[in-house]
Amino acid sequence: MLLAVETSGLTKIYQPPLRFEDIARLRFHKQPVQALDEANLSLESGKVHALIGPNGAGKTTLLKLIAGLLMPTSGSIRVFGIDPLEDPLQVKSMVGFGLTEVRSFFLRLSGIENLRFFGILYGMTAREAGERASELLDWVGLGDKADKVVWSYSAGMKQRLSIARSLIHNPRLLIFDEVTRGLDVAMRRKTLDLIKSLAHEGRTVILASHDMDAVEYVADMTWVIHRGRIVGNGDFKDMKPLLEDCFKGGK
């Protein structure tokens, strides 16, 4: 069984920076924040894995560690057998991160110009990036809006543009954080179908979400994260009681 992601004892502790006000009040030590506490994951490739947990459970931290954007305090990560700390560039070329932040695009550029730019950062030629960008914009249903500037896009269109960007370099692993947030019913369904089709192509998808219905619809495997620890994994239906506990503040 090929593992797309494997983490072992993954821990992340944030040390809040000292601000001027802290120094002025002679407070030179701030309480560290533990975002992840020995999190262990083994994600099979070619499946949609949902990561669910309440706010502050450590989902985004875990995703950013897998994508090589953060460094762990301790523990290990392997993405298709490669350690992002040892070879971050190799890992980044295999991972597509669907950042849903509206702010992550160049708003004065068109959709296709945004994708072309990021394609080149992923090592493609301008021509390859342009062709791939057109193909992806058609695929996510933005072909007719390709030349419109991104600030004129709706929230749903930006979400789909984000999916297209995460696919520009044809990655093996896709990571989406709250991909259905702010979408209407039709757009949400369309986005989830896009995600399903990615797994059918053999890609691995990690989806962090609060949206239970979305997870039930799309996920092959559900991982429950609470207070920085992975507290359960399995089929969504089996995880439901545990999830309810976590969201009520138990477990």
């Binding site: 992340k12 944030y14 040390q15 920076p17 975002a35 931290t61 950013k64 994508a67 954007l69 953060l70 460094m71 560039l89 190799q90 980044k92 070329s93 991972v95 991160f97 950042l99 932040e101 509206v102 702010r103 992550s104 695009f105 160049f106 708003l107 004065r108 550029l109 110009e113 072309r116 730019f117 990021f118 080149i120 950062l121 992923y122 090592g123 030629t125 301008a126 500037v149 960007r165 370099h169």
Partner: protein
């Protein structure tokens, strides 16, 4: 085409399209260039016939003298400001984190983000000199090799400072004041609009300690006297020494800060 050239082209295109999308801003750039030149032309004409002795040392009139300073001072400002301001804009707009998710290294992102400012500065300074010819600027026997070497060294020296400034900006998440202070001091004492010789002696001592003074002096002598690289050796050595220290230090500081932020997890913060 090499990866470096492709990246350079991608950043250049991105920033040109963004700048072009602000049509009024684009027109303002052209307008301010012209108005600055016209001002210098009339100041120069007012002074014709009684050019100060310190300017006559350069065998030229005031218009030519100041135009050379103005044409090249932009390299200093762009080199010192562009890295920090671009990184700050990317941090605030939220595009920094998106770019850092690609295999492009943080140093590459910071570095290539200066592509458009440098190219537009090059076009502007060549434009200023060409327009100057129309307005009656008189160069001497130009030594092109010296000009190119001085421009490159000026860019290298000041971009070292600019990279340091970008690293501090990334770390403290706001613009840092030291580089602006240094740029202001260089503009005031670097011999850009008036010769260093016209300053009081004690200010001249400070002036000759600044890299800008050596950069402008080298460029003026290359353009007005045709001085060779050998003749300008002392200025080159001075600039080179700054470049050798500042450029690697700037690159190193970016790497260190990015590593620190990855540990702290605050790329997205602004």
């Amino acid at each position: 085409m090499s990866r470096a050239l492709r990246m350079f082209g991608a950043f250049l295109r991105r920033d040109f399209l963004v700048r072009w999308s602000y049509k009024v801003g684009f027109l303002y750039d052209v307008g301010s260039l012209l108005s600055g030149m016209i001002t210098l032309f009339f100041v120069g004409r007012m002074m014709s016939g009684h050019t100060p002795a310190t300017v006559r040392l350069y065998h030229t009139d005031y218009f030519t003298f100041s135009l050379i300073g103005v044409a090249f001072v932009d390299y200093m400002f762009v080199s010192m400001r562009t890295f920090a301001s671009n990184i700050r804009v990317a941090q605030v707009l939220g595009t920094l984190e998106a770019m850092l998710m690609t295999p492009a290294s943080p140093v590459e992102i910071v570095f290539y983000s200066a592509a458009y400012p440098y190219i537009s500065t090059l076009i502007r300074s060549v434009g200023v000199l060409l327009l100057g010819l129309v307005f009656g600027v008189r160069f001497g026997p130009v030594n092109y090799l010296s000009v190119v070497i001085f421009v490159l060294l000026t860019m290298l020296t000041f971009s070292g400072m600019g990279l340091l400034s970008a690293a501090i900006t990334l770390y403290i998440k706001q613009s840092e004041p030291v580089s602006a202070l240094f740029a202001g001091l260089s503009f005031l004492l670097g011999g850009i609009l008036y010769p260093v010789q016209s300053l009081p002696h004690w200010l001249q001592v400070i002036s000759w300690a600044l890299p800008m003074t050596h950069a402008v002096e080298g460029l003026r002598r290359s353009l007005l006297f045709g001085d060779s690289v050998l003749q300008l050796g002392s200025h080159l050595l001075f600039l080179g020494a700054w470049a050798v220290v500042l450029f690697p230090l700037g690159l190193y500081s970016i790497r260190i800060v990015v590593r620190h932020l990855a540990r702290r997890g605050s790329f997205g913060e602004y």
